[in-house]
Amino acid sequence: MHEQKANEDQKTGSVTVKRGMAQMLKGGVIMDVVTPEQAKIAEEAGAVAVMALERVPADIRSDGGVARMSDPGLIRRIMETVSIPVMAKCRIGHFVEAQILEAIGADYVDESEVLTPADEKYHVNKHDFKIPFVCGCRNLGEALRRIGEGAAMIRTKGEAGTGDVVEAVKHARTVLGEIRRLQSMPEEELMTYAKEIGAPYEIVVETRQLGRMPVVNFAAGGIATPADAAMMMQIGVDGVFVGSGIFKSGDPGKRAKAIVEATTHFDKPDIIAKVSEDLGEPMVGINVTSLEPQEQLAVRGW
């Protein structure tokens, strides 16, 4: 019933509507969910969007094996259950998984290192799609390469499925610090800097001029408490993804709501303190330093 003939002069799939969609998520929390029931809990708690998955990263980590795009039927059922945007993940470089997600009408594709990469060299050409993409990064060069490929939103990577925020902090600080340094560089250094970090020159120039990336930047990976979310916001990201941290905890609904409130009121410690009371057990978590190099997901992406 929502089908409508696009008018001749109505332009869909433009850079503005792709990036604009992420701008509307700012200051919000995007939550991983594996069932329509969890999606409903996330929406009730005030999530700005959900990430529809078969397994949260903590389970992908413990199950091992190849992690692929989720069953489109599951994603569709989650889309039918909630009115907020629904995102879904495809493997790095797996453009057919991305095509499937576009075909079922997912609102955003996360080309994600949490799944097993499908291409060891190339990411998806995201300009080819009408739906927007979010991609992970560990530094400014990686972020600007993804934007060059058409990503309409960036998330600084943490170490997904650990409940340890240390990597999310490291990568957000790296990216934001590199932008601050870029702003102080004289113009003649920009081409060499672009070459050194492997980023498109034009986007380097644009980032310097804006004092920020030209797309929205969320933090992700290892965020498990309201305080974690508020810290990432104070460091300077635009919003947060919470994966395993909610539905691997004792009282998901309450924790989800507390993280939403702490993200909005991230600079008001009295409010963060209040919402952090009596949340029940957090997810157990894995200390990132205990992971073997081959167990780390954040290093995936080229």
């Binding site: 929502h2 089908e3 409508q4 696009a6 008018n7 002069d9 109505q10 332009k11 869909t12 799939g13 433009s14 503005t16 509507v17 604009g20 969609m21 701008q23 509307m24 998520l25 700012k26 200051g27 919000g28 929406e43 009730e44 005030g46 999530a47 700005v48 969007a49 889309m79 009115s83 907020i84 945007p85 576009e102 009408g105 609102d107 955003y108 009408k130 739906i131 927007p132 939403v260 409130e261 993200t263 909005t264 009121h265 008001k268």
Partner: protein
């Protein structure tokens, strides 16, 4: 000339975009509204784009609904996209349980154009804007709502070619389905600021 104080509801969404546009208009002091006390002394309020369910729920938790309703009785309020949903008297069909301000006599349908893949940009003739009929307004619609019914005191300011109402005004309350904060055209914000006495 005294500065006009315009606040932007800062729960979530395109807050900074609105603040930046307001700062480009002369004679305006822009501020963010997180809690009810931040409404004090304002001459106008903008409710930005974002997720209307999130903004509505947090507005309830932080006791913002009633103060904004009283504010809207005498002062101008502009709602863009999610802001329009929140200002509506009623939502069409589903989601009747979503918290609303209900200050404007319109019925709104959420996500009425479809999902993100159907989000679009277009040129709009806009009644009453400076050069509104000779220079169209470039409008960005993102998972946008539609106005499906209007009360007798509501005036439609812009329509799509198929007749769908996408901007309207009732006294000093103004709404747009689209995001004027995503373009560099200041005319809608100027129009709104002029309503603030």
């Amino acid at each position: 000339m005294e500065l006009k104080k315009i606040g932007v509801l800062s729960i979530q969404g395109s807050v900074v975009e609105h603040v930046q546009i307001l700062r480009r208009i002369g004679g305006v002091e822009a501020s963010k509204v997180y809690l009810p006390e931040d409404l004090e002394g304002l001459d106008g309020l903008i409710i930005p784009g974002g997720e209307s369910t999130t903004i509505g729920k947090l507005a309830v938790i932080y006791d913002l609904l009633e103060p904004i309703k009283s504010f809207a009785k005498t002062k101008p309020v502009l709602g863009t996209c999610a802001g329009m949903v929140l200002m509506a008297a009623e939502l069409h069909q589903d989601r009747q349980d979503q918290p609303l301000l209900g200050v404007m006599d319109i019925v709104v349908e959420r996500n009425a154009f479809g999902r993100q893949v159907n989000s679009f940009e277009t040129e709009l003739d806009f009644n009453g804007l400076e050069n509104g009929l000779s220079v169209p307004f470039h409008a960005v619609f993102i998972r946008a709502p539609k106005i499906v019914r209007i009360g007798s005191n509501v005036r439609v300011l812009a329509r799509l070619p198929d007749g769908t109402a996408v901007a309207a005004i009732e006294n000093k309350l103004m709404v747009t389905s689209f995001h004027p904060e995503l373009t560099s055209d200041l005319r809608i914000h100027r129009y709104f600021v002029n309503l603030a006495g």
